[in-house]
Assembly symmetry: C2
Homo-oligomer: 187 residues x 2
DNA sequence: CGATTTTTTGAATCATATCAACGTACGTGG
DNA sequence: CCACGTACGTTGATATGATTCAAAAAATCG
């Protein structure tokens, strides 16, 4: 659980009392490889912190899987679209390998927001960070070619390339597996 | 100024005292058509609420303008990327016609966040909303064809089509003006 | 009205998608 | 431990859709 506190402390300093309130809400869970955290159509009621493991977001369009995000050890994730609005998710969220996580429910998190200004602030900082991440990802689609996106991925996140099959990376980059294969040959 | 309060009240209920603190920070400003609120390379130090007018975000890549966003009367805007991180902006933000706005500085807003939990919450809700907007826009690039994006724009935001020249809309949709012209002919 | 900007149209070009086939790696059961 | 099956990756040929370049038509502005 210490790793969760370390993560939180990157955003706000928490007193021991605050942390006690927070940790109290955390629930440990393990996922098997390929197990789903969330299904399309379900409402996402939890956020989770990955102690060890890897997850992906994907949706199914015309029978094809389209991958939209990856998360790894040390990341915090939720389907925010669904989590924030409490509306049905458009995504599947799946463990890519067996994983250990701590869950916190929307209800408990909202309670923490309301009872501790410090956690309200945490919520703001999370949301701002999410926005920045999204913004950057959108930029790569607007301003970069598939080749540029791949190059950027190699620089920023080469860990990802080792952990994830190439056809998922292709999908994440918005191209077909054949195309990614050709991009790689060109380099 | 009432319209700003109305806007804020959509997110949090404010007491008269809180509102007094908020309004105190607002600064009125008018923009001429084509005047810039922000230049590439500048740090965005303000957010603004549009009382009357229209703005666009764009960047210049290889000598071409790429439009990334539009905002109209009743919208709240900032270059959040730059505003949140206080790093140089990648964008130009320009009035599309003469406009009236209320400004609030990053410094003052941060102060409000720190002094009033209610405004901290406002900040969270803003950021969450921003994220949702970004998320949807990214989705349209990932899952829709240019034709689909145009169709969605027509449904959601037909006002935009009347206010904005077509070549800017093309850029916003990620296609060349010639292509948008052809898409429109097909429909 | 004339000048400039914006939109449309046409033809050639380029990049990715698609379809199909082949190669390779991996792991499971015999 | 081998053999086979399945999933993954590569390669080639063709198709599709947007871009590019050029020019004409239409709309806007002084």
């Amino acid at each position: 659980m210490q790793e969760v506190r370390t993560f939180v402390e990157k955003f706000v300093k928490t007193s021991d009392e605050e942390w006690a309130a927070f940790r109290n809400k955390l629930q440990f869970k393990e996922f098997d490889k390929d197990e789903l955290f969330l299904k399309e159509g379900e409402v996402c009621k939890h956020a989770l912190f990955i102690t060890e493991g890897a997850f992906r977001f994907y949706k199914i369009v015309d029978g094809n899987e389209l991958v939209t995000a990856f998360f790894f050890t040390g990341d915090y994730l939720s389907d925010y679209q669904s989590f924030l609005t409490q509306s049905p998710s458009n995504y599947y969220v799946q463990a890519l390998r067996s994983s250990k996580v701590y869950l916190i429910s929307k209800k408990d998190l909202t309670e923490l927001y309301n009872n501790y200004p410090n956690f309200e602030k945490l919520g703001r900082l999370f949301a701002e960070r999410l926005f920045l991440t999204m913004n950057r990802r959108l930029d790569t689609f607007l301003y970069e070619t598939p080749e540029g996106r791949y190059a950027e991925l190699v620089n920023r996140n080469s860990k990802l390339l080792q952990e994830v099959p190439q056809y998922m990376i292709a999908s994440y980059l918005g191209v077909k597996p054949e195309t990614l294969s050709r991009i790689r040959k060109r380099i």
